[in-house]
Subunit: 318 residues, 4 copies
């Protein structure tokens, strides 16, 4: 029985395993990505075409679209050149160079289906190439439509996390606190938070990573309209009880915050993560208030103050 | 221990905090939006391009599309003008003014890819500009496709709430009641309701906002085909017990209703909110029935009567 | 206290209320729609443009698209006629009638952006009209793209229900059984069922509708690959205990089946409903087996036999 | 009462029923599909047009699109031929054969809406056909847009399962283990696993299939960034307790693994299944570690080693 009890305790984890690979290794980066690289798959299998194109930065995406447009037209200009430029009617150029660029522009006019018609295919070869190209053009732009929609319509929670976590006075004792807000204008509803403390412990002479789920004052808010200070009360049952700032450092403590909510604009569940390492925790501080009354009975939240805190005397808990 | 018990009670809330910023401040507007403004983010970061275009009213959206169409064509007409209007073949205009407008219409014909061809690019410069424009046109309309789809396919619950909440006779005691119905023709299923009472109380000489989740007669219906009268029985455990209409006013009571359901047409979960302030509650009334037998064994729901109530003697509960 | 106990029992329901509006009224139709009409909303508010276009039958949708195409082109042909047909270059027709139809076809060529160019706008008026029309064309087909995608991508569970429910011998007692299967080729996973019995009872001299949730032998299957016989064991706790076929009739019993699952092809949760009235229940029968071994260790499910049952002696439960 | 206890135990299942149709029959294939064929529906009803086009392999899909493009153009070329080729202006061909192919290319130019215009409809008949064709073209490519988007945006979990399950030493006893990882670059979060053991038992002289849900060391990980070794501890309560490899064979044991997670790129819940038959279980082995420290405090997961295991002495549990 003791065995089982033990086992369960040891095995609390969140997906990063219990091995310590390096001192001061960070599990979750500030932006919520995992500090893990997966390797060893065949190149094609690990490729996720759609996902890459969706997650790519805008300027990269636009450059890519332009480049592909340029390359396809060069390729087709070359094809028309090989077929014979006399199969394109309406040319005005006289040198080969001029004619090649006319073929290039004929290609752009076919691919985009604008088809002015001054330039037009006359022979069989050019007609086939143009038929294929205009169809490729439509399919390509069908793809572009899907990608653009996919890029825009992907719900991504933009949760603003306070730069630092703080250990603050809290109801006659102390609490570990993180402050979050919604950066977007849309409403996040049914927002839940989970706070996990990871630390390094000694198990049979070997360093192992341990995980503790921290109890929260409030696990869920119905609407994240204002800011939410997520509070873990450091009470008798808290694994942070009696830990000094020095202990946080030696135990390589990392606090992983996971936030989950429902985005009303996109009608989908969204997730967000961040993490606070021991050197991102301020002991003896409290967050500065940032809500003030607005016009006509509304309230105003000053999101630029979300990181602000001021010194505060920690009360000794007893 | 008492400390903890206390803590939990104090902290019931739904995301609006416990501070009172102004007398008679409303948390949730009748249309379900929060009465909160988030400020202080850099302009670009707070911008949510897609979300704004999706949530914009139809006439604004159409005006925007038309304006963008007009502006892009004016810009390109100007570009063709700068490149040299002699690079556009097929012009019939003779004055500069006429030629400019022909360049403008050439631009519209390129952007929409209609490309009649009477007007067509002859020189290198105009050809490049036209190749870029027709491609921008396709990408732009790809974007428009995504936006139109996004606008139409966004599931939005259209819940009809009775204008007033009532305190009505209910099974030998009294009940707090709100009546809702689905405005749309589609079915809402697995519909759940939550009723939260917010009121202002005095805590250590300071006004604080308190929240109470109200117990419901029925928390969920499988299908919201008819109307649903959400009932909070004012029994011994109700925070409304023994409260007079005057108490509702002095305590600045606000009832927040949250409704959640699954929209079968869109296959997505939808949320809806509304709120009733003390001055939107009718004491001693009952809702007028609005369901009547229809043809062939069906029933008819008269949605226009959803707000109707009539006087009713409240029974004293004892 | 008894009051409360009572109250909870009385209020079990699934969204149809407890009133009896007509004898033998059916709550849920065989195809799962509710037997309810919502009326009284202003026409525009109750209109759900997108939803109607999505749910419309295919032939109606195609007819609508064709009609709109025809009408828009007629309207624009008329506009070009009013502007003056001399503003359209390239006409070959000589009579007014011929010219009108050329304007009509010029309109189709602009709206679809095919723009051959023999016919092309020369004057200012026709150019503006054509610029507007080709843009409308692109927006219209953007809309069509969204609608077509919406029509195809809407996940709809196609659950096949046995025509009749049966009361069958079951493990030394009897059970109420319904047999379902997935009509589609895709997998339905995490499928849950709920069985609710509605019946009419006498409450203080008035007929009221009562609802009972029936306990199931198995509430969920992980994969609905084969058929699933949903069984309510008629044991001591069952509301069907000791009810004769005659009781089913006089109490106007209706069994509502609700099925919920996750459609792997569409990655979305889908719902399905059906209902069995007293006259759709067979007493003393059992379902005919329909699974047989197939090739290479697979099994074959004969969906055409899903409704088949044969007589079976009911064992008296004691 | 014993009856009921019995019943519940007998009825644990996952959707495949309890009948044994063939010796060594497999319920779930390695790729997660069910080993079941549903037959007997009318052809049209079982057809799922969209689903087939979405799930089709890429080369098949492309071939299909090309074929349809070819066929439609041949059909329209024939229609123009029937109407009379003199109704198409701008032809340069002289033989009937040449003219037919010009009609074919006119068709491609209409369908893709490229409409160069050298070839253009002059008579009424050809104009009508071209108006219909260009509209069909736009609708067809609208469809293609939807399909391409549907194909790309369908979230499919690509979970990598170890080829073999192993029975390994585990905390002073033994454990049944399967190792999984995410093949994709995106994050899978809130990942849950379920392990079901199916085996054939003798019930009243007849072979029946039994199912047991196996307890797991850890049922869920928050993020599947690394690999996850799903462990069923073979303790006193395990149905695998005291079973020899020979028992696994005679009882035709099959282990079904179900994994569920939330795909952050697609914002949707995804499912994955696999199965291990008795001959895919290695007794007395342990998985080779595959995580190693990477650069800058990150860790590297070598996915190509996921199947690797080495011999390990099983400790006798007592």
């Amino acid at each position: 029985m003791a065995l089982f009890k033990n086992r369960e305790e040891d095995l609390k984890e969140i997906g990063f395993g219990t091995n310590v690979y390096e001192p001061n290794q960070r599990l979750v980066n500030k932006d919520g990505t995992s500090n893990v690289h997966r390797r060893g798959l065949p190149f094609l299998e690990s490729l996720s075409f759609y996902h890459s194109l969706i997650a790519m930065k805008w300027w990269k995406f636009n450059m890519l679209v332009l480049s592909v447009y340029l390359i396809i037209n060069l390729v087709f200009a070359f094809i028309y050149y090989c077929i014979g430029l006399e199969q394109l009617g309406g040319m005005v150029g006289t040198t080969v160079n001029e004619k090649f660029w006319e073929a290039f522009f004929f290609s752009t006019q076919s691919l985009t289906t604008v088809g002015y018609g001054r330039l037009n295919p006359v022979g069989m070869g050019a007609s086939i190439a143009a038929a294929v190209e205009s169809m490729m053009g439509l399919m390509g732009f069908a793809l572009a439509t899907g990608l653009l929609y996919g890029r825009f319509s992907r719900p991504v929670a933009k949760i603003l996390y306070s730069n630092k976590a703080i250990v603050a006075p809290y109801r006659g004792m102390t609490g570990f606190m993180v402050r979050i807000a919604n950066k977007r204008k849309n409403e996040l509803i049914e927002v839940e938070a989970q706070l996990t403390m990871s630390y390094v412990a000694n198990h049979q002479g070997k360093e192992v990573r341990r995980f503790e789920f921290l109890g929260l004052e409030l696990k869920r808010v119905n609407v994240l309209s204002m800011t939410w200070t997520i509070v873990h009360p450091i009470d008798d049952t808290s694994p942070m009880r009696d830990m000094t700032p020095e202990d946080f450092r030696t135990k390589q403590v990392e606090l992983v915050v996971m936030v989950k909510g429902f985005d009303e604009s996109f009608s989908q569940t969204v997730y967000s993560r961040s993490s606070y390492r021991y050197d991102e925790i301020e002991f003896g501080a409290k967050f500065v208030p940032l809500v003030s009354p607005g016009q006509k009975g509304s309230v105003v939240v000053a999101l630029d103050k979300i990181h602000d805190y001021e010194k505060a005397e920690l009360q000794v808990y007893s």
